[in-house]
């Protein structure tokens, strides 16, 4: 079987695939970000893989991290097979934590705040306990999910950022800045993240697997043993201190999908099965550094012997999907935009959430109409 591969840089892939859909020139198989699945599902571009998986000897839901598998279910339809995964964990400076009297990475929000307080007390002026870039939406969303917030209403038709659970999480997040644990800066104001981490400008940072390689490559050799990774702490409602049950993080990554227009869907499915074999997943990790979505691939020594990667494995046991609706990417941007003034103390958390709710609700006007229309048709 001959496979033609087309490389598209990540930044343009989304537009190119949508354009290809409109122009009816989609490929047979594609690797797409799992946050894009709802869009392509809405367009009816994706084949329901449920029946194929039921017959498959290679791919079965139980081989995958459940939270990751879940992201591929859009309105109950399996529209992709997870390929590699992305999630965020805590990167921290072991030496700085120890010097501040913190022996282990925090496991609960309470422990976390305590650790941050100690780190802050030891850090000099211009230094901070943690870096949380204000233009990233992932952190407040993760905190919300950890606290059991749903972000949107059940059908994804309206915003629910003023729910008590999200309000509490947002307050916790904003307070991290107001109490001086984190600097109120956006990514663009950080000139060199790695240099600053090495210099001890901040001791904690929440980020994803792409930074494993970067940290190893860019931090000075002398710091090799001074940093580590850990699963995220959990909110008060979580199970504190039990090994293997961290707080929830975001389920990200990319999936393999089969487009409905494919004329060679049998062959295309074989390709997906081949790429999903544990051995291929391990090879792909070795080549590109992307973490495998299958649990059994993690048994390979290349991963099981890697302490920093292991934190991701632990984290992947507890990840949750962001709302699976086509508008999510636009909504996510709004979250960061609206919380920023609250972080700077220009508005209160409640005012910010009110504005966020209003804005997002506006974005979802069309979706509500479409949902209502669908419901009317069903009746």
């Amino acid at each position: 079987m001959r496979v033609e591969v087309q490389q598209i840089p990540w930044t343009a892939a989304h537009e190119k695939l949508l354009t290809a859909f409109v122009g009816e020139s989609l490929p047979d198989v594609a690797q797409i970000g799992n946050t894009w699945l709802p869009e392509f599902q809405t367009l009816g571009a994706l084949e329901d893989l449920g029946p194929r998986v039921a017959r498959s000897s290679v791919i079965a839901a139980k081989s995958y991290f459940p939270g990751i598998w879940d992201t591929n279910l859009v309105e109950g339809v399996l529209c992709g097979v997870p390929w590699y995964v992305d999630t965020r964990v805590l990167f921290y400076r072991k030496d700085l934590l120890k010097a501040a009297g913190v022996d282990a990475p925090p496991r609960t929000w309470a422990e976390w705040r305590d650790a941050l307080r100690r780190l802050r007390a030891r850090a000099g002026p211009g230094r901070w306990a943690i870096l949380l870039p204000t233009d990233e939406w992932a952190q407040p969303v993760i905190l919300g999910l950890q606290n059991g917030a749903s972000l949107l209403t059940a059908d994804g038709g309206d915003a629910a950022f003023r729910s008590p659970a999200f309000r509490e999480a947002a307050t916790f997040y904003v307070d991290l800045f107001r109490e001086g644990f984190a600097p109120p800066v956006a990514n663009t104001q950080i000139s060199n993240l790695y240099q600053q981490f090495a210099a001890g400008d901040f001791a904690m940072y929440i980020t994803g697997p792409w930074n494993l390689g970067e940290f190893r490559r860019r931090l000075p050799a002398s710091l090799k043993d001074s940093w580590a990774t850990a699963p995220l702490p959990s909110a008060a409602g979580g199970v504190p201190g039990v090994h293997g049950v961290p707080g929830v993080s975001l389920a990200g990554g990319s999936s393999l999908v089969l487009f409905r227009t494919s004329k060679r869907s049998e062959d295309a499915w074989k390709l997906i099965e081949f790429l999903s074999e544990p051995a291929q997943q391990v090879r792909f990790y070795a080549l590109a550094g992307d973490l495998p979505a299958r649990r059994d691939a993690w048994l390979d020594p290349i991963l099981s012997g890697d302490a920093e990667a292991r934190a991701f494995e632990a984290q992947l046991e507890n990840v949750a999907a962001a709302p699976r609706i086509p508008e999510w990417e636009q909504i996510a941007q709004k979250i960061a935009e609206h919380l920023e003034p609250a972080i700077r103390g220009v508005v209160t958390v409640d005012t910010a959430l009110l504005a966020l709710d209003k804005d997002v609700s506006g974005l979802l006007t069309k979706r509500r109409w479409v949902l209502a229309r669908k419901a009317a048709h069903a009746r």
Binding site: T11, H14, E15, L18, T19, V22, E39, T42, L43, G44, D135, A186, N187, T188, Q189, S191, P326, E329, Q330, G362, K366, R367, W369, V370, R373
Partner: protein
Amino acid sequence: MRVETRRGTPAEVRAALFFLAPGLFVIVVFFFLPIAASFLLSATDFDLYALADPSNARVTGVSNYRALLSDPVFLTALKNTLVFVLLGSPLTVLVALSAALLVNARLARAKGFFRTTFFAPVVTTLVAVAVVFRYVYHPRFGLLNRGLTLIGLPAVDWLGDPRFSLLAIVLLAIWKNFGFSTILFVAGLQGIPESLYEAARLDGAGRWQQFRRITLPLLAPTMLLVGLTRTIDYFQLFAEPYVMTSGGPLNSTLTMSLLMYKEGFRFWNMGRGAAIAFVLFAVILVATVIQFRVQKGGET
């Protein structure tokens, strides 16, 4: 425009139809028709849902336009575009005019060489040039900061710092475009009779006075042409920010064209994208009229 003096013979009219048909067909089908369609599209909420099922599109009248006016992201794009034009156009004209005066100076040597050199950036591929400038602007390894530090100025994170990113794109645009205006100015300068300057010198006019009294007024038509083409062109700024910053940091280089592209082809909010395009058109129209007025005012 010439007044028609004589009616064409039937054969001539038939021939005209034959000669015009293919060209006009292309222009009508691939330009005017889509524009009309775009106008209709801007009055609907055509989006991803409508793409999946056309019956999901609704006629929404002016609500796309109304929504734009209260959208902070759109207002940012509008502001950035205006700042870019207001900064870029006059600076480009200034640089172009200076270069033209130098090239056209009686004392200048190798005029052809300099004219060609100044024009070279105009023909270069914008995407390639934007790629090159990404490195020229690099905070640490870039040529520009190297130059700045050599003359004792502080290094700047040109594309990463929202205070400088738009300026960085203005500088690129000047570099890329001034040569075109320069050759128009040179042609305009060459059209000014030398005898006028001689007469002025006899009257004891200095260089500056010659420039004010003769060069500038006689260059006015060229000035209008250059100003108009620059303004219209700069309002449509797209590829530079697309390649260099994709509109960031913090939307500081987000232009109306780029926003239209994002709304249209990234989120498939086509109705909204079309509305942005028409607001852009309206802005360009207003700017064109203003330039004509200013020019007229200057003449009387």
